[in-house]
Symmetry: C2
Subunit: 608 residues, 2 copies
Amino acid sequence: MRLSKAFFVTLRDDPRDAEVISHRLMARSHYIKKHGAGVYSYLPLLQRSLNRLTEIVREEFEKIDLQELTMPYAIPGELWKESGRWSKMGAEMARFKDRKDNDFCLGPTHEEVVVDIVRGQVNSYKQLPFTLYQINTKFRDEIRPRFGLMRGREFIMMDAYSFGADREELDRVYEVISDAYCRIFDRIGLTYVRVEADTGNIGGDASHEFHVLAQSGEDEILSAEDGSYGANVEKAPTPSPQLQSKVTGKSWGELTDSPIEEVPTPAKSTIDDVADLLDWPTHLCMKTLVFQFRSSEAGEWKPLVVYVAGNRQLNEVKLKQAMLADNLKVQDLVQMPEKDVEKLFDAPVGFLGPISKKEELLKARTYFDREVLVSHGLVCGANKKDYHLRNIEPKRDLAKLYPHSIKNNDLDLVAVEAGEVCPHSPSHAPYRSDRGIEVGHIFKLGTVYSKALKAEFTSKEGKSQPFEMGCYGLGMTRTLSAAIEQNHDDNGIIWPKSIAPYDVIVMSLGRKKDDEVSVFADKLYESLRSKGLSVVLDERDAGPGIKFKDADLVGYPLRVVVGGKGLEKQELEYSFRKTAAEKHGLAWTGDVNFDDLASKINNLWGSI
Amino acid sequence: MRLSKAFFVTLRDDPRDAEVISHRLMARSHYIKKHGAGVYSYLPLLQRSLNRLTEIVREEFEKIDLQELTMPYAIPGELWKESGRWSKMGAEMARFKDRKDNDFCLGPTHEEVVVDIVRGQVNSYKQLPFTLYQINTKFRDEIRPRFGLMRGREFIMMDAYSFGADREELDRVYEVISDAYCRIFDRIGLTYVRVEADTGNIGGDASHEFHVLAQSGEDEILSAEDGSYGANVEKAPTPSPQLQSKVTGKSWGELTDSPIEEVPTPAKSTIDDVADLLDWPTHLCMKTLVFQFRSSEAGEWKPLVVYVAGNRQLNEVKLKQAMLADNLKVQDLVQMPEKDVEKLFDAPVGFLGPISKKEELLKARTYFDREVLVSHGLVCGANKKDYHLRNIEPKRDLAKLYPHSIKNNDLDLVAVEAGEVCPHSPSHAPYRSDRGIEVGHIFKLGTVYSKALKAEFTSKEGKSQPFEMGCYGLGMTRTLSAAIEQNHDDNGIIWPKSIAPYDVIVMSLGRKKDDEVSVFADKLYESLRSKGLSVVLDERDAGPGIKFKDADLVGYPLRVVVGGKGLEKQELEYSFRKTAAEKHGLAWTGDVNFDDLASKINNLWGSI
């Protein structure tokens, strides 16, 4: 592409709404154009990177016999009504009516459609397993679209769906696809981790995320320092109290037979203040958290009380998982407003605790984190303004009040922190914390959707049963953003060569169309193209300053400069974007042989 | 792809709603899945053909420096309000509101978006011309979606938009892109024509269509037998009356000075009946057509009267062009209901004519086809039940009644027919008629959209002026349908090799996974793949009948059969789908060399 003939314009200033670096750089270097909140055009440079990424995904998936297809963007509402998600999806799913008043939605995900494709067509276990995927546009009406392509409303995603006969087949396919994800990110050249993740709204019972590591990442990733385990913070387990004791010698207090004692703690409503006053470790002070939840939009709100160690933060995702394991359907879960708490339990927030005679408290759904239950001599609120209790022994004092809750004595409900022991690490390595950008998410869906949509096949045993499904997402436009978040400097983007929009930029410092420099640059450009490299020729009527700046901004991996001085010396200057400081020379003697020069540059490209 | 591991199912029966062959074959051979009226998934076989077609388009466009991008599918309504099309587009454009109550539409076309991308960014004629294109999904809420992918509601289209500084630049780019279209259709291997076309709703002042010729085509294409000219029937000009006389000796009657005479024609209200009764040529009997039109949806309906020769059919597209040339804005144009005609003109339909004293008739907008105006001694209705007039001399009798209409004496308002002289043919060759499927449509838009959206640049002369735009559409999914309409037989699809989903099918007639035939077929499959061919291995647990039938249905260009008898004879049978009847043998002696065999098959592939 000759830049003088191309649609290409760089901007000096960052767009006002750009909070992250990939958004700033993409907007300034002509990769995107915003038309509205979260709605972008992908300009020619981005399109080329996107096409390269698409090619990598296709090649890796073809190797493992995945089949590509395209599902509709505008989906008949009927399918979503059949699965029951029409009413569940909320405002994030955009909807419209066609001219005949039929309901449609803009596909935010395609489980319903893919099941509609397969059901009735595949009748026997012999036709299984197989996996279908698409690389297609999706629309999710995010409440707060931001970060450019990172959280847009319209975006390009790869979504795959596997169909298997049984759990074993699902597990096998899941690992094959997970491995292909790794090969894809390896080929792109990104630093990433695969971590355990929560299954969230999509449903299903196992899930992993792929994160590109970058300081600007929205997610916290915890990994064992020895690389043996990684998880999203939502999912990462705390070490058990026993393991903490074993590895760090942590004490959970001494068993006491002193009776419960009420102590005045005037105006001390925070854990730190109470611990300070009573000179007692925070982790032996109980924190009381009150929520309310409902199982459907029209359902009744019910109270929920959670007790965790005073030094801990509750992890809501783990709490929801615990509720799910109790067969509690949770549509909404929110903190109960203070005044409702005080009205319901007849005690002020800051002084709540489990020791009470109040029916409303004792009958509320209650969870204790396992750290609380192994501790001795705990402090907790007295359910009375300006008073706390001490000498709480869980076995003695809580068991009779909450017999059901206490049985469940291994619940991990709190957020783990960097530096703690990773329980999955054989060497008891500590967790380290990184910031990650979620670019892939894979799920073992099981039979949720095949059951809902009555998609069945005949098993080896002659029984009709629903498909075991997996689903696999990879954000295409988001991966490109994440690549920039991970690979940039103050001057612009540093593309991994695999997904750079062009391989090489030939920069001509000639000022007239027919001067020696311009003619040389043009010949070199054509020679490089004939070697199969994708090349940009910057022969614009502009000064060297602008050209160097633009090249750094756009992030071409290899730059070759054709200038008057160089030609005199019979030498071309080239440099790699990754190590911009180093300039190198490509020399020749006698008449220049363009084909030879292009071969040498092609070899340089190969060396990146 | 091993078929036993693939999602692949053929159907015995045509879908009920399938009216055309491509729809029937695509549905039966697992290319598409219908989810609702005009809404389809493109299954893996179709996806592969689509990817190949995409690659051809990209390669040809890259050669001429077109830049690919992706514009949003869901487009903010603001842009359409700015251009004025939000209110004009009607029910074909699907609309929705986002969660913040902003208007959106599903892009039926992208002029507004592309102008939004370019305006403000390109300020100088030096940055021109350039062309942007996308290959993307569109939604048009067709009132009657049908013919499978031929007239779907969601479909994939290539749409390009060129920006130039002046008319000359637009004309040049237009021809370069038009030539690229020809190369694309040539490379696909389709029989097609480029014809002049009406510009329709998109606006602009010149336009061509690309039609794939097929009996089932919805459009009639007229081309000079000598290949010198082609046009959609809507656009194809009739030969002038003078040319008709010159080439075929056609007579337009003898000048008469007899006065107008009223003759009884009881119950003869059709041209044929009147011509019969009066023993007068039909082409010298005037046909009177009454329409009503309005210039906006809220506008007043106005009458319009058109006179054409009695042997002719009016061409409404030509009529609209004539009105446009008169600066008449036409939003709607329909035949006036009979009872309204009779009430307005006080004369019965079937007996209407231009000779009248009735103000309403004389003042109505009136057009005469040029053939009427060169004729002599015409017959027309007497505006009185059961009577006609004869001896009408246009110059004598019409000029004073319709001075304004008569000045416009070279209007071509009628449909031309096969066999007539093509006026653009230097050798006066006759028109031939073909059926065509419109797969491409290109327009010289001019400044319609750049003006409406205030997209301007500074010209060489320092003046601010709007871009001269062209727009270029190519129906991707429709081209695949058209390829099937043109290339099939009773057994199924016959893909042009360029866009076949796979190159070769290796058919294994083995029945067990490890028998000699199956092992041989598997080795051959792997060898062919290593040559870079895309290969299907049919090793399903099914009889040869099913396998042969399916292979023909799907339309793989080259078939290689591995069977027990062949292996005994040391010979493989192969055949080309195009010439299915002929079977050929590939023989070897001694131990089989798979690499060698694969090379030979690769050569066969090259020979197609």
